[in-house]
């Protein structure tokens, strides 16, 4: 069962650049970026149980850092992405220290406010981000090759995606991952069993920010333009729905959620006005009838 599923996924990944149109490859690229973003959000939300909204800000930091380093210093590929990811992780850790004194609704609203401020900075810091005009980003250089279009970038994005999924799988049963699950289940119990809950939450925030930063660094590999409007609540809500519909805390579920909720707007494209209505209805029905998401459905049908 598991092996066939893996084989199907692998076949699909290989088949995309061979069989699909340019638009299909572009779509696959955006799904890969969403996948890394969603896994990162799920580490905070599904694994450590912290409801925070700052994720999109770290993604933006990753995009702008990578794009600007490539533009201004023509650095070759892994460097801008790594710097962007480091920066995003650093900011995430800094935010985590005051934010994690709060919980539940207050944490959600404070981190949301941070995301709004970050978007304002992207929008208004004209000298660096070129503000409301958006930023043109030059093509990525990898050794001697220039990655010009979606097909060039696809294999690289797949590799990064695989590394990030692998890292998430390693986290699952590591000491740190188990500590996060314990904090999620019950903070007092976690504290009583000697887990430093505060440190665990801060680390979860940092790792989540790192994923968002790397996802941000993946974007300039195949797009040449970023506008601050795309770094707002709407994008974050899109990622959140992928995680929730897929199933909090389950990597395979989250990835399934990314594919389903990522492709849904494409399927609804012909419906025009009905699109929003159907998307919202699917979202409500999904949380109503699939309490553990797609992962829960798969689990139930397997057993």
């Amino acid at each position: 069962m598991r092996r066939t599923a893996l084989a199907v996924v692998a076949a699909a990944v290989v088949a995309v650049p061979l069989l699909s149109t340019d638009y299909g490859v572009y779509l696959a690229n955006t799904l890969l970026v969403s996948g890394v973003l969603a896994i990162g959000l799920d580490i905070l939300l599904g694994l450590a149980g912290q409801f925070a909204f700052a994720h999109i800000a770290f993604f933006g930091i990753g995009v702008y850092a990578t794009g600007l380093l490539t533009n201004r210093f023509s650095l070759t590929f892994p460097l801008p992405l790594l710097v962007g990811a480091t920066l995003a992780t650093g900011v995430a850790l800094l935010i985590a220290i005051p934010a994690l004194r709060l919980r539940q609704v207050y944490l959600a609203l404070t981190t949301y406010a941070f995301a709004a401020v970050a978007q304002w900075v992207f929008h208004s810091w004209d000298a660096v981000t070129s503000g409301a005009n958006g930023l043109r980003m030059s093509p990525t250089v990898l050794f001697r090759w220039h990655l010009i279009d979606d097909r060039d970038a696809y294999p690289l994005l797949v590799v990064i995606g695989l590394v990030m999924v692998g890292a998430r799988a390693l986290l699952e049963n590591s000491r740190l991952g188990l500590a996060m699950k314990a904090v999620h289940e019950s903070e007092p119990v976690a504290l009583a069993s000697g887990i430093d809950a505060r440190r665990t939450k801060i680390v979860a925030f940092g790792i989540s920010g790192c994923y968002a930063g790397i996802a941000g660094g993946m974007l300039p590999l195949f797009t040449s333009y970023i506008h601050p409007d795309t770094l707002g609540l709407e994008t974050l809500v899109g990622i959140l729905t992928m995680v929730v519909v897929g199933g909090l805390g389950s990597t395979w579920g989250v990835l399934a959620g990314v594919v389903v909720m990522g492709l849904l707007p494409e399927l609804l494209r012909d419906l025009q006005v009905l699109r929003e209505l159907v998307y919202g209805a699917v979202l409500m029905l999904a949380v109503m009838f699939m309490p553990r998401g797609i992962a829960g459905l798969a689990h139930r049908s397997a057993s």
Binding site: G49, Q104, V105, L109, L240, L274, L277, G280, M288
Partner: protein
């Protein structure tokens, strides 16, 4: 000095509307622990109900307003009973908040999508104001009758809400459920019904705020974005404290007007989308 007084006066009016929307969010949060991201869209949808009743059905204003408030209450009660109740029973532990908030996001999309289906939403509209007449001049401050009407309606709505929660049996029951659902259930308060009613009241309050704000701004299916400022007001006020939230709303309105009237900085498109239709 005149400018300052004028900014203060306008700020109080704006702030009163923020305070009403924030009250709606806080009622929902206290009774069901949910952040209602659809709050602004309930407001938007009820404005369109009023518009339809006025234009298509040709009803008088008071009947249209009543229809709008009633529709909002039905949306709220229905959403709680059909969607949130079910989630509350099937999702366990801390993930309930995430699932419920996601459901409100779904509701937000559904309401926006539904309104976009209406032919009236394809052009920018506005609701008529009920408070007409020449402005009243007090020293250097010019007060529009509309603004005075807004302030009075908001104050009456707020006072009615306080009275309802303090003096009526139903209101006390709803407060008890918000305070401690288990204890409330033990003494025989029907918690499911109380939660449903809380959602109905909250959405009705949002509808009142919508009816007040709609004559001042342009109506579009995206006008629900105003809820962002109400969230800020609610946070300033402590999110669970009714008087605090009212003060938070007023403060926010005053600060916003003072900043808007004193700074000469050009406004970017992003700012315009959230707040600047006021000044």
């Amino acid at each position: 000095m005149g400018l300052l007084a004028q900014a203060l006066a306008s700020g109080v009016v704006t702030g009163a509307i923020y305070a009403l929307i924030a009250l709606s969010l806080v009622i929902v949060y206290k009774s069901t622990d949910v952040i209602n991201f659809a709050g602004g869209d309930v407001l938007m949808a009820s404005c369109y109900v009023a518009l339809l009743a006025l234009i298509s059905a040709g009803l008088p204003y008071w009947a249209s307003a009543l229809a709008a408030v009633g529709a909002a209450a039905v949306i709220g009660a229905g959403f709680d009973r059909l969607v949130l109740e079910r989630i509350g029973r099937s999702v366990r532990g801390q993930d309930v908040l995430v699932a419920m908030v996601t459901a409100t996001i779904g509701l937000s999309y559904v309401l926006k999508g539904a309104v976009r289906l209406l032919s009236v939403s394809s052009e920018v509209r506005s609701l008529p104001s009920q408070f007409l007449g020449p402005p009243i001049i007090l020293g250097s401050v010019i007060l529009l009758r509309q603004d005075i009407g807004i302030l009075a309606t908001a104050a009456i709505t707020g006072a009615a809400l306080f009275a309802f929660y303090r003096f009526t049996r139903l209101g006390r029951g709803m407060r008890a459920v918000a305070e401690d659902p288990r204890a409330a259930a033990l003494i025989g308060i029907p918690i499911v019904r109380m939660r449903m009613l809380s959602w109905a009241v909250a959405c009705a309050v949002a509808a009142v705020a919508g009816l007040l704000v709609a004559p001042k701004i342009l109506m579009t299916p995206d006008m629900g974005i105003i809820v962002i400022l109400a969230f800020a007001a609610a946070v300033i006020g402590g999110f669970t404290n009714f008087p605090g939230v009212v003060i938070g709303g007023l403060l926010l309105g005053i600060i916003e007007n003072l900043v808007a009237c004193t700074s000469r900085r050009k406004r970017s498109r992003w700012r315009r989308s959230s707040s600047s239709w006021w000044c």
